[in-house]
């Protein structure tokens, strides 16, 4: 008995658990400080910079990287690419957790979080002429859609067959609804910055910024599915069934090819954007050099590497490129929201995140990883439930 207890306590004391535990403790301290001392106690936000990394990283990157849900389900159910079926549940789970964490981050960021919980902006005081209202409504609705899309896995785990069967029957409706909502809010997140032509650097500001955000969300979705799949293969290989393992290589090749094509299109419209606004002269400045790092290093280079990987059947190269592309999307969102925003201000007035802002962001990501680990360990996400085989 004591031996068993000792083994149990040993198995919980892994490096991952210890680090996650420390982050959670720091995150809880940050949470207490935020909700007792207000935004001023834990952030460097100001009238110049009312949106910091909780919006730039947690929300913008979170929403973009959670796009794998609608991209994968659209490929599988709308375009009929059934060979990607085993990737749908992990992608939906990543999307659902991503959007849940976006909502969690918003609770920290908005001045009156209880109003968000009570859906006040949708029920009591709708700002129907505001893009932010549209973004908020779409994100809220899509979070519910993702919840319903993910429910069958949870219901299979709980053994509630009737409700699960009803939800599986409306999969197509949910997928279409998800694609429509994603198209709307992914682009509208970019459109939010149309109001700030004097604040955002001209190289990042463009009349096409909603299109950039939408197209790059597709790239983010494809890359994130590949990146998440790579990590899942490394850490949850024992949970995967034969179908999942068998479809994995085809998924990597298919998504790698799609990512190469969309990246090529994205590169083209970014260059067209520079030409349409005649911003060529900005490329010769310091900001231009940073823009070229993004354009060449995080768009053209991964496009070429994905194409090389697909051409040579080099799965490893495709997987590494997916991780690089995910980093590129994060760089792009941070450029738009933080780095190239208020670029004209003197250094003293520029925004740099407070220690507790960073802690909170790391805490939120850690909560997501812990939730993902719990769900994948318990629910049929990476394998088909034995009682529901061939029913999807």
């Amino acid at each position: 008995m004591s031996d068993h207890a000792a083994t149990d306590s040993k198995s919980y004391l892994t490096t991952f658990n210890v680090i996650a535990g420390i982050i959670v403790i720091f995150g809880l301290i940050a949470t207490i400080m935020r909700f007792t001392g207000g935004l001023g106690a834990v952030t460097n936000l100001s009238d110049y910079n009312p949106w910091g990394i909780w919006i730039g990283f947690d929300l913008l990157c979170g929403v973009a990287l959670a796009a794998g849900g609608y991209v994968t389900s659209a490929a599988c159910y709308i375009f009929g690419m059934k060979r990607f079926h085993s990737a749908v549940r992990p992608a939906i789970l990543t999307g659902f957790l991503g959007y849940s964490l976006v909502f969690l981050a918003l609770l920290y960021d908005v001045g009156r979080p209880f109003r968000l919980v009570l859906a006040y902006p949708f029920v009591v005081q709708q700002g129907t002429s505001s893009l932010l209202f549209e973004v908020g409504l779409c994100v809220a609705l899509y979070l519910n859609v993702l919840f319903l899309e993910f429910c069958p896995a949870a219901l299979e785990w709980l053994g509630i067959r009737k409700l699960r069967d009803i939800l599986v029957k409306i999969t197509m409706v949910l997928t279409i609804f998800g694609v429509v909502l994603s198209t709307l809010h992914q682009s509208s997140l970019g459109a939010l910055y149309l109001i700030a032509p004097a604040k955002l650097h001209p190289l990042w500001y463009s009349q096409y910024i909603p299109v950039y955000f939408f197209v790059s969300s597709v790239i983010a979705g494809l890359s994130m599915v590949l990146f998440e799949s790579t990590l899942a293969h490394k850490y949850f290989h024992h949970k995967m069934d034969e179908t999942h393992l068998g479809e994995s290589d085809g998924l990597t090749m298919g998504f790698g090819k799609a990512a190469a094509i969309v990246l090529a299109g994205y590169f083209t419209i970014k260059v067209i954007g520079i030409a349409a606004d005649n911003n060529w002269h900005h490329l010769a400045t310091g900001w231009g050099a940073w823009y070229l790092v993004e354009l060449i290093g995080f768009i053209a280079l991964p496009c070429f590497l994905f194409a090389m990987g697909v051409r040579d059947g080099n799965l490893k190269l495709i997987r590494y490129t997916a991780a690089w592309t995910v980093l590129g999307i994060i760089v792009n969102r941070l450029n738009v929201s933080v780095i190239a925003f208020n670029y004209h201000l003197p250094a003293a007035d520029r925004y740099f995140p407070h220690f507790w802002e960073i802690v909170t962001s790391v805490f939120i990501v850690t909560v997501g990883i812990l939730a993902y680990r719990f769900i994948v360990n318990n629910m049929p996400v990476l394998y088909e439930h034995p009682e529901y085989k061939e029913e999807h």
Partner: protein, 43 residues
Amino acid sequence: MEQVFYTLQDFMVHTKAVVYVLMGLWLIAVIGFWRFLTSRDDD
């Protein structure tokens, strides 16, 4: 060096012309890219 445009017409004619040239180049480049991406599909 930044060019000076005195009218919106001048600006639009210039930028549209550059975009049209870029689109022409893109149409040629995309064929090459597609061939590069898919040439070994049948192997």
